[in-house]
């Protein structure tokens, strides 16, 4: 499982151009930062208050004024810019090149559900709704299924985080793009066949004529 998640994070790390401004959600998305290619500098957005997240603070060397959006003590890059919440979400809606986050469900039209399960205890959307409504590119990184059930569906059954916002999905099985025609598989991992990925998906997939193997390393 850890290997599958690492595979997803490694693949996602190739999505960014040098100089990109990116928000990485909590969990698997956060790991993406560990695998950025040589020569690609990305400025990471921490929606609680800055552009220029580096990594976790070492125990005993925390700066109590610097937390990430999960409340953990973190460090920043030398070109960091701290800002207030209004500015931070101005950046999110207006300037983020990409937001990377997990999903409970993604629909074939790009609808995303990742914040609430009716009946379960409510945590709140935090900044997620703003982040997906605004970023130029929303990339979902996720295991392809949840307890065997598909997460990519014809239509979301859970309340949405935003409609038609997802542009790309990266799972352990492959890389998919959301297009007006539906979800197009552009890369398939060598461990899986077209039939495997289709069987694990709740909507009809389109296979790119240029279908490539999902790059591993």
């Amino acid at each position: 499982m850890a290997d599958l998640k690492e595979r997803i994070a490694r693949r996602c790390a190739k999505e960014f151009e040098d100089g990109a401004f990116v928000n990485l959600g909590i969990g698997l998305p956060t790991q993406v930062a560990n695998y950025l290619p040589e020569g690609v500098t990305v400025t990471l957005h921490s929606e609680n208050g800055f552009a220029g997240l580096a990594g976790m603070a070492e125990k005993g060397h925390e700066d109590v004024d610097i937390i990430n959006s999960g409340g953990a003590y973190v460090t920043t890059v030398p070109w960091v810019k701290y800002f207030d919440t209004a500015t931070s979400f101005g950046m999110a809606r207006g300037h983020l090149d990409a937001t990377v986050l997990g999903a409970m469900e993604v629909a074939e039209n790009g609808d995303l559900a990742n914040w609430i399960v009716p009946g379960a205890k409510v945590a709140g959307m935090g900044g997620a709704m703003d982040l997906v409504a605004g970023a130029k590119k929303v990339i979902v990184v996720t295991l392809h299924t949840q307890k065997g059930a598909p997460k990519i569906l014809e239509k979301c059954t859970l309340p949405l985080t935003a409609e038609k916002c997802v542009s790309k999905i990266i799972s352990e099985m492959g890389v998919m793009e959301v297009t007006p025609e539906g979800i197009v598989v552009t890369e398939l991992h060598p461990d899986f066949t077209k039939e495997d990925i289709q069987a694990a998906t709740g909507c009809k997939l389109i296979f790119s004529p240029d279908l490539k193997p999902m790059e591993e390393e």
Binding site: E47, I67, G71, Y73, R93, K121, G124, D130
Partner: protein, 238 residues
């Protein structure tokens, strides 16, 4: 010369009455004016409506020996209604909602900031793409009003109305005696939009300087919106 506004934490909360609406700066406690919160707890008002990013932190979170920020008010049962973007880090909120003792209105974080800014800056509202086609579109707002959806240039937006409070309590890292202030690093969060979005704004500051002692371009928030300044806000200890 009404340019010295130093007061005590007790004076800052003296006007807060049961049932009032108060805004509290901070993000999971970071950037919350703890000395003012402590004075509010000591005063012991109830049925507050609190506008904040979150419910602060409960005892034990990140090894803390006490609750932090809004968490202290939750612990004492002083809140009737919380308007926030994220309440998952403090289980007292979920517990209160299940028990029926606490009402909670969720607002997306960026929308919450813009609603507060609109109140502060005399605007009638803002249009945001955030929340379109989600439960935010159909749920009532914090005052029980329906949301309006406007379609402009082929795109749908929610019309979000101003969010105003009786009191705003903010935390500064450095302030002058007139109330010009800034918050260091990631402690800015909601402190900048909340200062001025209430009938009365009070700040607690770690460090105080005399007016004119520093380059005025270090200030982020104008002292004209600040009614009183409490000195001696402690640095958080971990």
């Amino acid at each position: 010369m009404a340019i010295n506004k130093i007061i005590t934490a007790e004076e800052a909360v003296a006007g807060v009455k049961d049932g009032m609406t108060i805004m509290i700066g901070g993000f999971l406690g970071t950037g919350t004016p703890e000395c003012i919160i402590d004075a509010l707890v000591a005063k012991g008002v109830k049925d507050l409506t609190v506008i904040a990013n979150d419910g602060g932190l409960p005892v034990g979170a990140y090894d803390a020996k006490t609750a932090r920020g809004v968490g202290k008010l939750l612990e004492k049962g002083m809140i009737k209604h919380i308007i926030a973007s994220h309440v998952g880090m403090n289980p007292l909120i979920g517990d209160g909602m299940i028990a029926g003792t606490l009402e909670c209105t969720l607002v997306p974080q960026g929308t919450l900031a813009e609603k507060i800014r609109a109140a502060n800056y005399g605007l009638g509202g803002v249009l945001t793409p955030t929340g379109v086609s989600t439960p935010m579109e159909v749920e009532k707002d914090e005052l029980g009003r329906d949301k309006q959806v406007l379609e402009l240039n082929g795109r749908k937006y929610l019309l979000e109305m101003p969010l105003h409070a009786d009191y705003a309590f903010c935390r500064a890292s450095v302030a002058d005696t007139f109330g010009n202030f800034y918050c260091a690093k990631a402690t800015k969060n909601f402190n900048y939009v909340m200062a001025g979005a209430a009938d009365h704004t009070f700040i607690a500051t770690e460090k105080l300087v005399q007016v004119g002692d520093v380059d005025p371009d270090i200030w982020d928030v104008p002292g004209v919106v600040v009614e009183g300044i409490v000195e001696g806000e402690p640095v958080w200890q971990i």
